[in-house]
């Protein structure tokens, strides 16, 4: 057997770059969006590179990957890439191949779009498919929402980019905290301590220390060392569960989804912003989470109808003010919306800049 290879790192990217990219690396001059999901980059040399972006569920089979590989071979010399939002991009040099490729992709069930003032794929996480922490599923919610919003993926009729992300628990692997719309799985009941396993599997001091609100304290239960949870103090972050498997928070009745809006990442115009709570709780309603898709559609359409050109969700709401957003959207403003964490005071309205 050959010597065991370790620490070789990933393949060098140059091995995978298409020739046109190698030739024009760093020499691109400008780009234009030709139609939804299709753009051209023009090089200082005059070379033109056509990109076709197709939506992906991200959770894909090897068979699908082989399909992509076949298409790349058929249309663009066996070169393709994926994007930071998990779409697949085909890099064409021959403009004539655009429409045939789009047709083949359609046959495979993959819409082309997501470029320009559009919704792109939803960055998301594992959910019930693979994670122990999930307060909701990931792929299913994403599928339901994208089915509903597909028209905004395959067109560029929105005022600006719209980035949706989903994380199935507060760990936020989808890093949803700076999204135009964030779908966040949440627990609403404190951990149910499994006293039997806890003393074997977890260190009591680190479990207690893990709680940001000091809701957990060591206690003797049935004569054995364990912990107790001061339920009033728990805000369901599940950090204790991450540290100790004997503190599960999953609860089919009370787990669900919260919706957060108005975040952004890019520095374009406004500095990056965190998303803010719009809807505190929607129960899990698989397989199609209709309350979630409806809520999101309403928000998207409200924004689309009222925002100025290029105005991202958060920029629009900042201009009109949150009270106006609540009024226009019909979403009820509740106690949950008021921040009570560390920097809460800074979110209070410290002026009379009020609209009526």
């Amino acid at each position: 057997m050959a010597e065991r290879l370790t620490d070789i790192g990933p393949p060098h990217y140059e091995k995978f770059l298409p020739p046109i990219v190698k030739e024009n690396y760093g020499k691109w001059l400008y780009h234009e969006v030709l139609k939804p999901g299709v753009m051209v980059h023009v090089s200082e040399s005059g070379a033109k590179l056509f990109t076709i972006r197709a939506g992906s569920p991200r959770l894909i089979s090897t068979e699908k990957i082989r399909n992509y590989a076949d298409l790349a071979e058929k249309y663009c010399g066996g070169h393709l890439r994926f994007t930071s939002r998990h779409n697949v991009e085909f890099l064409l040099t021959d403009e004539k191949n655009i429409d045939p490729l789009i047709k083949d992709l359609a046959d495979l069930g993959h819409p082309v779009g997501g470029i320009g003032n559009a919704i792109s794929s939803i960055v998301h996480t594992q959910g019930w498919v693979h994670c122990h922490s999930a307060a909701t599923d990931a792929s299913g919610v994403v599928k339901a929402v994208m089915d509903d919003l597909n028209e905004y993926f395959t067109s560029t009729k929105l005022p600006g980019k719209l980035r949706i992300a989903l994380a199935c628990c507060l760990n936020m692997c989808g890093a949803v905290h700076c999204s135009d719309i964030a779908i966040l799985g949440i627990h609403r009941r404190p951990p149910k301590v499994n006293h039997d396993t806890l003393r074997k599997m977890c260190e009591i001091p680190s479990v207690s220390a893990s709680c940001p609100t000091a809701a957990i304290r060591p206690a003797t239960v049935n004569g054995n060392p364990s912990v107790e949870v001061l339920e009033d103090r728990c805000m369901f972050c599940a950090n204790c569960y991450t540290v100790c498997p004997s503190m599960p928070l999953n609860d089919p009745l009370n787990d669900g989804i919260s919706i957060w809006i108005g975040g952004k990442v890019s520095n374009a115009r406004h500095e990056p912003m965190f998303s803010k709570l719009a809807i505190p709780f929607i129960p899990n309603n698989p397989p199609r989470w209709p309350e979630v898709t409806t809520a999101i559609r309403n928000i998207v359409e409200l924004w689309a109808a009222n925002a100025n050109k290029y105005e991202r969700m958060g920029e629009w709401i900042e201009r009109i003010g949150w009270p106006k957003f609540f009024k226009m959207s019909g979403i009820e403003f509740q106690k949950e919306h008021i921040d009570d964490f560390k920097h809460a005071g800074l979110t209070f309205k410290r002026s009379t800049h009020i609209t009526f």
């Binding site: 290879l5 370790t6 620490d7 070789i8 790192g9 990933p10 393949p11 990217y13 091995k15 995978f16 990219v21 760093g26 691109w28 400008y30 234009e32 590179l49 990109t51 992906s56 569920p57 991200r58 894909i60 090897t62 068979e63 699908k64 990957i65 590989a69 076949d70 071979e73 393709l80 890439r81 994926f82 930071s84 819409p111 998301h124 996480t125 019930w128 498919v129 693979h130 994670c131 122990h132 922490s133 299913g140 089915d147 597909n150 936020m172 890093a175 905290h177 700076c178 940001p212 972050c237 950090n239 787990d255 990442v265 890019s266 520095n267 115009r269 990056p272 698989p286 397989p287 290029y310």
Partner: protein, 404 residues
């Protein structure tokens, strides 16, 4: 084979609709993989009961590596024996997520042989994620992967798989070579990537310009974002064409400039570059007329992360302007000093951003020997609680100040 698929009336609903269906993908994989068939069954049960059926993962991995594999076990192993183990493998993607058809097929071959046939292309850190295999399969997969030129990515308290935007490979705005830097850092930190030794994870993300197409400012402990410091390049003819083409330059370009440093008199577009905030908006909107300047480099920011435990953080400016030059020794030296201080004084599960909040940015900079700059803050302090470190001693002349 179809009759072997479990009955999944609820999940089947998610085969409908215009967006590509992950259920179809699982079924595709299930044609050849008993694991994916059991996954279907387990998932159907989750959909019915509205709860996941996975247990906390134990520590599993490949020999000599502390990261790269997420252990996962079902809590219904009797009912779904083929997913009793269902570990994922994180494979370090090539910079910019470029592939050849051939490379992809090689990966598929390995995975079809040993795993569920399901993947994430990609995980949200950037890795290729192989979704679901048994412990025994890990070593064989690893050796076939390395044979094919691939290696594992990070997990646990280590350097995580760095990732970057497409950058100069396909984007006219890239202010530095994101792919080259990403590859170089990935190779440089192989040991830190594979053998967790930090208080917590440490992520690098590289974006070529302030549009930040890998969301580095929100999702990486070190965010390296391209920027320029000379004047925006203007092609006045193209400006005129945009105006003639009906673009409302005053409202949509000038009116959206956060630096309030643009002026459009209906004929000429002027930019007072010394007030430009490098937000990219005008360039984004007038792709043919405007370009970043020629003196390009990167802004290095530090500290972003998800909310657990102290609340989410965005990265903040560490070096306002850095000229990336291979082998990037200046950056690596600085990162090493920061890692040393963080490893020494950081608490377990304390990200570097949280650490800085706890010890104070000024102190952190001092300990890491990093120059202080006004660009690091949005504004100076508002509270008067200053830890003055200098003061006069009784016997000093009035002129000299004394450190403590």
């Amino acid at each position: 084979m179809a009759d072997q698929l479990p009955n999944t009336p609820i999940l089947d609903e998610l085969e409908k609709g215009t967006w590509p269906s992950f259920v179809k993908e699982i079924k595709l994989a299930a044609k050849n993989s008993p694991m994916s068939r059991d996954l279907l069954g387990l998932l159907e049960q989750s959909y019915e009961e509205k709860i996941g059926h996975w247990k906390h993962g134990g520590i599993v991995g490949v020999m000599g590596y502390g990261g790269g594999v997420i252990g996962r076990y079902s809590d219904l192993p009797e009912k779904y024996p083929n997913v009793s183990h269902f570990h994922t493998i994180r494979i370090n993607q090539p910079s910019g997520w470029f592939y050849t058809s051939e490379a992809l097929r090689t990966l598929c071959d390995i995975w079809d042989k040993h795993g569920s046939g399901l993947t994430n292309m990609h995980g949200s850190t950037g890795d290729i994620v192989f979704l679901g295999c048994r412990t025994e399969a890990l070593e064989p997969i690893f050796s076939e992967l390395t044979e094919a030129g691939f290696d594992l990515g990070g997990s646990g308290s280590d350097v995580r798989t760095p990732s970057c935007c497409v950058g100069p490979a396909r984007c006219e705005w890239a202010c530095y070579d994101t792919l080259a830097l990403t590859y170089d850092l990935t190779m440089h930190y192989q040991d830190e990537l594979h053998r967790p030794a930090f208080p917590y994870k440490f992520k690098f993300k590289m974006s070529g310009c302030p549009n930040d197409c890998v969301a580095s400012i929100a999702r990486s402990d070190m965010s390296i974002i391209g920027i320029w410091r000379d004047d925006i390049q203007i092609n006045h003819d193209e400006v005129t064409k945009y105006a003639e083409g009906g673009m409302n330059i005053q409202r949509d370009v000038v009116g959206n400039c956060p630096g309030k440093c643009m002026d459009w008199d209906g004929k000429e577009l002027k930019i007072e570059n010394s007030y430009c905030r490098h937000c990219m908006h005008c360039i984004n909107v007038m792709t043919k007329a405007l370009r970043p300047g020629k003196d390009r480099g990167a802004c290095v920011l530090l500290g972003s992360k998800a909310p657990i435990v102290e609340g989410a953080l965005l990265s903040s400016v560490l070096i306002p302007f850095w000229k990336p030059k291979p082998p990037y020794t200046d950056l690596k030296d600085m990162v090493e000093r920061m890692h040393d201080v963080w490893c020494e004084e950081g608490k377990a599960r304390e990200r570097i951003g949280e650490f800085i909040q706890r010890v104070g940015l000024g102190n952190f900079l001092e300990e890491c020997e990093i120059d202080i700059a006004p660009e690091m803050v949005a504004h100076p302090r508002e509270n008067p609680y200053i830890f003055y470190e200098e003061y006069y001693e009784e016997d000093d002349g009035e002129e000299d100040e004394d450190g403590e």
